[in-house]
């Protein structure tokens, strides 16, 4: 019987090890009297938050004398939301779509009315969808109607797998909607033609950028404005940006994950952290990282980086994320119907 007892002991030891490992994964009061926050964000905000975290930690130290360490987690927005739902102990979430935070809210980690807790629907910076074309714009692409011409290759990720791609689709829809005076048959026809011109649907935005810039696929890439700087740094002199007559305003939202923050005792610092995004300093960092700031003064300062264009928003034109998601991207929604044609 002896070997069996050893087994039992080993199993127990392993189990207790596992339990302690889980417990210590997040402790609020570190040895030096410091505090830590976990910011779960999406992919392209990596550089933005490295800079912002340093600035905020300095601000927090001056204000409270407390050392603050902000940890970052990045990945696809939907994937990040699922991680938080499944127990990744985030204090704040800064994601790409309101729908992703809504999903976290549905799990009970934060109240459903999170969007009203901070100014501008809880989105401190914005971005928009623009066109990236080859140097010299050989195909003369100026606006959305050029994208459906025969022989034009349009590169966009698949809206079913990429949150970013949903903005591309909605921007195209919004333009067509205005252009055809809301005639839905014509709008649908436009979208169908548009996706006929898409040779590959990558699963995410980075994949699309690679397809377009590195593999030389297609003539125009639908991309987030904040990704363009990166693209031009990676592939200098190969591409240029075209601003269409109309696009959609993408509003990446932020929220305190109240349940986790309360458990960690970080509610105050987490709230302050997000509010700091709205201060001139926070806005400045957003603008430097090619996100459009909300603050008018900062926006003026960086105006040359952000040409003015007509922007529709998802609340007024699509009835909010939940409705847009259901109508367009859910299984059997408009995208599925039009693509199957």
């Amino acid at each position: 019987m002896k070997p069996l007892r050893i087994t039992a002991l080993l199993t127990l030891a392993a189990a207790s090890l596992l339990a302690t490992a889980c417990k210590k994964s997040h402790n609020t009061a570190g040895s030096s009297g410091g505090v830590s926050l976990l910011n779960v964000s999406y992919d392209p905000t990596r550089e933005l938050y490295v800079e912002f975290n340093a600035a905020f930690a300095k601000h927090w130290k001056e204000k409270t004398g407390q050392d603050l360490k902000v940890e970052q987690s990045h990945g696809g927005s939907g994937k990040q939301a699922r991680a938080v739902i499944d127990g990744l102990s985030a204090d704040v979430v800064t994601l790409a779509l309101a729908g992703d935070i809504d999903a976290v809210a549905k799990s009970g980690a934060l109240p459903a009315d999170w969007e009203g807790k901070l100014p501008d629907h809880s989105s401190p910076y914005t971005s928009t969808i623009v066109f990236v074309v080859r140097k010299g714009n050989p195909k003369g692409i100026k606006n959305w109607d050029d994208l459906v011409k025969p022989g034009i290759g349009v590169i966009t990720p698949n809206p079913k797998t990429s949150g970013g791609a949903r903005w591309n689709y909605l921007a195209a829809w919004a333009w067509a909607s205005k252009e055809y005076g809301g005639d839905e048959a014509k709008v649908k026809d436009y979208i169908t033609k548009l996706f006929k011109n898409v040779p590959v649907l990558d699963s995410g935005a980075r994949g699309s950028t690679t397809s377009f810039a590195q593999r030389g696929l297609g003539d125009v890439l639908l991309a987030w404005e904040n990704e363009i700087a990166l693209l031009q740094k990676e592939f200098p002199g190969q591409t240029e940006v075209v601003y269409p007559s109309l696009s959609i305003i993408a509003e990446p939202p932020v929220a305190v994950v109240e349940k986790n923050a309360a458990a960690h005792g970080t509610t105050e610092v987490a709230t302050e952290y997000l509010k700091y995004l709205y201060t001139p300093e926070g806005q400045e960092i957003a603008a430097k990282n090619f996100y459009r700031p909300r603050d008018a003064k900062v926006a003026d300062k960086y105006a040359k980086n952000f040409p003015a264009l007509t922007l529709v928003n998802i609340r007024d034109d699509f009835g909010g994320w939940e409705r847009a998601q259901k109508t367009h991207f859910a299984d059997g929604g408009t995208f599925d119907q039009l693509y199957g044609k």
Partner: protein, 294 residues
Amino acid sequence: MSRRRIIPGFGLSLGYTLTYLSVIILIPLVALFMKASQMGWADSVKLLKSPGIVAAAKLSFGASAIAALCSSVLGLLIAWVLVRYRFPGRKFFDAMVDLPFALPTAVAGITLSQIYSTKGWVGKYLAQGAQWVKEHHAPGGWIGGWVDTISQRGAAYSSIGVFIALFFIGLPFVVRTVQPVMEDLSKDTEEAAATLGAGRWTVFWRVIFPSILPALITGFTLAFARAVGEYGSVIFISGNLPLKTEILPSLIISQLEQFKYESAAVIAAAMLVVSFVLLFLINLLQRRLNWRTR
């Protein structure tokens, strides 16, 4: 302890084995099936019958099977050369066989699509070749369809691209399962066959092949199973066109993106069941072969 066992520590190792199997494999799989069962039978069937899933399932299982078959043929050849011939750089090539195991699959996918797209080193010539065939022979039917696709897209961003990626990741499985068996083959039987007047082909077909066939089938099974679940390398080269080049794992991710855990679990569970049945049948076949050759 009435009987003494040759290897000590049976209790310990059995306990470890059972704990390991349940924590690492059984519990996650049970959880998956439990999640899937939340959806209800009618809804599950409806989901699995939807055109997108059916198309993706055909592509996933079809391309995996073809890729595993090709891996088997080429893997056998590679193993043969590595075992039977001595040439400079053999050790180097031998080590190289394992590289697809070590390479992150996304890197493999990006690299492959780079090479096989119309602008890539290989894809460029494939496209030109396909164009030539199209102009001079104008083949019809599904061959014509393939030629058409290759001339437009190289070999990437089509079901051919999916096949290439699955072939790439499957190959080492076959080589590494067949190789040791080949090394253990005694030359005596071959020599005996030769003295009895068998030609080289007969020796291979009647003597060597039957004894490595079980290992070859194992290699095929491993390559096939891996290919069915493969995600990273395929999504880059497939182009992810709904109804055309989407693979099942990509559809599961797409369900998860919509926070539909149950649907994702249903597709995954269905995939596992089909795979299990196929693998089980292959195993049965292998048992019979093993029994026959003994």
